[in-house]
Symmetry: C2
Subunit: 284 residues, 2 copies
Amino acid sequence: MLFACLGAHAEAGSSTPASVLAQAPAAAWMTPSPDDLLVMDLAGGRRVVILLAPEFAPVHVANIKALARAHWYDGLWIERVQDNYVVQWGDPTEKKPLPADTVASPPPEFDRAASGIALSPHPFRDTFAETVGFASGWPVAEEGGRAWLTHCYGMVGVGRGNAPSTGNGGELYAVIGHAPRALDRNIALVGRVVTGIEGMTALPRGSEAMGFYKTEAERLPIVRIRLASELAAADRPRLRVLDTSSATFAAWVKVRANRKDDFYVRPAGAIDLCGAVPPVKEGE
Amino acid sequence: MLFACLGAHAEAGSSTPASVLAQAPAAAWMTPSPDDLLVMDLAGGRRVVILLAPEFAPVHVANIKALARAHWYDGLWIERVQDNYVVQWGDPTEKKPLPADTVASPPPEFDRAASGIALSPHPFRDTFAETVGFASGWPVAEEGGRAWLTHCYGMVGVGRGNAPSTGNGGELYAVIGHAPRALDRNIALVGRVVTGIEGMTALPRGSEAMGFYKTEAERLPIVRIRLASELAAADRPRLRVLDTSSATFAAWVKVRANRKDDFYVRPAGAIDLCGAVPPVKEGE
């Protein structure tokens, strides 16, 4: 298929990322709790599903769940799309009252104790941290007894002001460009987009500073945000995330670092942390 | 500005990336030759400008220039948009005859001799190569006497089939996601998008395998592609690229690695190669 240049056609006998996943045992796939899946229905029928990471930012995640349960996000907007950086949504007016069961000033959960994190080390060096790897499906960096989620493509965080404890969950963002790792440990990451990111990445970029839309008419309305556990069974996302402690994940990373598909003439010999964010499969 | 969380507000006395650039002497900005600027006018008034890198892939770049001079791309399409990967454009039919002054099977210019490249080393480690840095405004990796352009966000390459010398320039792609560095040395990079990338990144993703559009109607027509040198002076892009051998560029990299704007509570202490692609300024 000439010019379909960036695809994966397996050489006879060689593994590809896709073939490794196709051979994964069922046990290698984790089924997220429906209470950790945030389902965001946007105007125009776009659905974005976010997997939450309560073990990394428990207070922030509890706030987001409380806001979802209160249907607080419904009728708000995506109001910022900055190319090669982030999409941001929520209440840009900062005036919508928060439900009583949210914490107005969450602690700065920008990192956490490394103890209690079962890190599968990533076998290639990282620019930003001495140790990186994956834990429970998350890309993680670790140093000096602290561990933190990293700003890879699709990761979701809580917008805040300059004061560290001003991120109450009323504004969220997702990374839509090259991993802005300088944000690591400066803001609370709470999860990642696991399906439907194209519902946000293909939006027009905002023309104002930092990608904010100039007019309210440009904003994309949020129809509703719900926890999957609140949805009828038939309407819940059906997806699984590859278990990063599985042999399949290790094999997948190895193959991604050493592509021998027909197209490749020189395997890279490495893959970076954000180039190996765990795959998700839908429909099962 | 609460929740405008990812901006840059300078602490009194501290430098920001923007303040470093604002203080750059005029000599720190390079003006590209209009013969190395490819101006792509897309349907809907979108203009994308690509700076070519003839020193890295001379035969491929000569082909692209010949195709532009022949107005060969006019009326073709963007036919592929794959989320977190690439946008691709040109002739998906592979049947449009090439002008006589193009090379049908260019050599695999996937890397080149490192001699002759004046690399300013990047001061932080890279996952993929022992040595990385910048040369003449380009992100470059170097190893074993060879040097090559790296697949950072916005970089432009020449689509090819599985045989290495099948990339004649009739299909081009741009990176629109996290840097897919495993492609380095596997395909000819020929330049990068310097302005207007949002004209491609905000397009709908294709629903077919590898992000190809399912129907011809979904394709975005290319109105014309011209070298800037072919355009009337008033219609030429006016832009400059920061000289990567300048003191300003070194200072900018340092500040990007050590953000001390009001928002940041913990400077990263590093920035990766693709996080430091040289800035471009327009309008001068």
